[in-house]
Symmetry: C2
Subunit: 109 residues, 2 copies
DNA sequence: TGACTATATAACTATATAGTTATACTCTTT
DNA sequence: AAAGAGTATAACTATATAGTTATATAGTCA
């Protein structure tokens, strides 16, 4: 699908999703979840923020369809389930990485 | 490049870029520039906002390396120069479009 | 049931930013 | 040089949101 074929409704959704993805803490969480499934407590530990803060970020990511959660016992596990999401993240990293390298020098090294 | 290989410095850049892209008015401008080069006055007309507002948005897009500008006479022309940027936009539209369709039904139709 | 653990939510504060208005800058033309 | 056109910037207001603290909700075990 090209940019042209995006309807206003989808453009709104995309803008919301990007806003959710465009946060350092949430990118950190996404990077972590790229490696597999983690429960909230583990994520809190790994990203170094408060439980309430991480929970809120996870809620936003889930609402944007970027992650899914599953309750097992007392824990809630989060994961990147959809390959589409991985592809979006990968495309952003790859292409923007190249762009930055070309224009600003070896910041990515 | 996978998510794993993104350095903290690049992650910061990516987060900034996404924040710039994640705005309805700027997405509208990017969608327009996808079709070719336009000067500020034309963009103002097409997107339906004030000159000052559009100029500020264009400045942010340029700073994020998403567009480039060139002054010719009195006009300043903006364009999406880098194929990497087009690829990022395309990947986002394609994959998130699919995702939304799968999960929320035919919002994109 | 009561104590405990894991997660989510509410209320609040501080900060960032989209849009507006007014003005400055730059180039062209007479 | 002066006037006008095209674009950028400064100052301001209103709104959104990241993070914190305190509390609520849900599941587990004694």
């Amino acid at each position: 699908m090209t940019f042209d074929q995006v309807t206003p409704a989808l453009a709104g959704k995309i803008s919301e999703m990007l806003k959710v993805l465009a946060d350092p803490m949430r990118l950190k969480i996404m990077k972590l979840l790229h490696d597999g499934e983690f429960c909230v407590g583990d994520i809190v530990e790994k990203v170094g923020s408060s439980q309430a803060n991480v929970s809120k970020h996870l809620g936003l990511l889930a609402q944007a369809l970027l992650v899914r959660s599953e309750k097992r016992g007392m824990q809630v596990y989060y994961r990147i389930e959809d390959p589409e999401v991985s592809k979006i993240c990968e495309a952003i990293c790859t292409h923007y990485g190249k762009l930055v390298k070309k224009r600003l020098g070896a910041l990515a090294s």
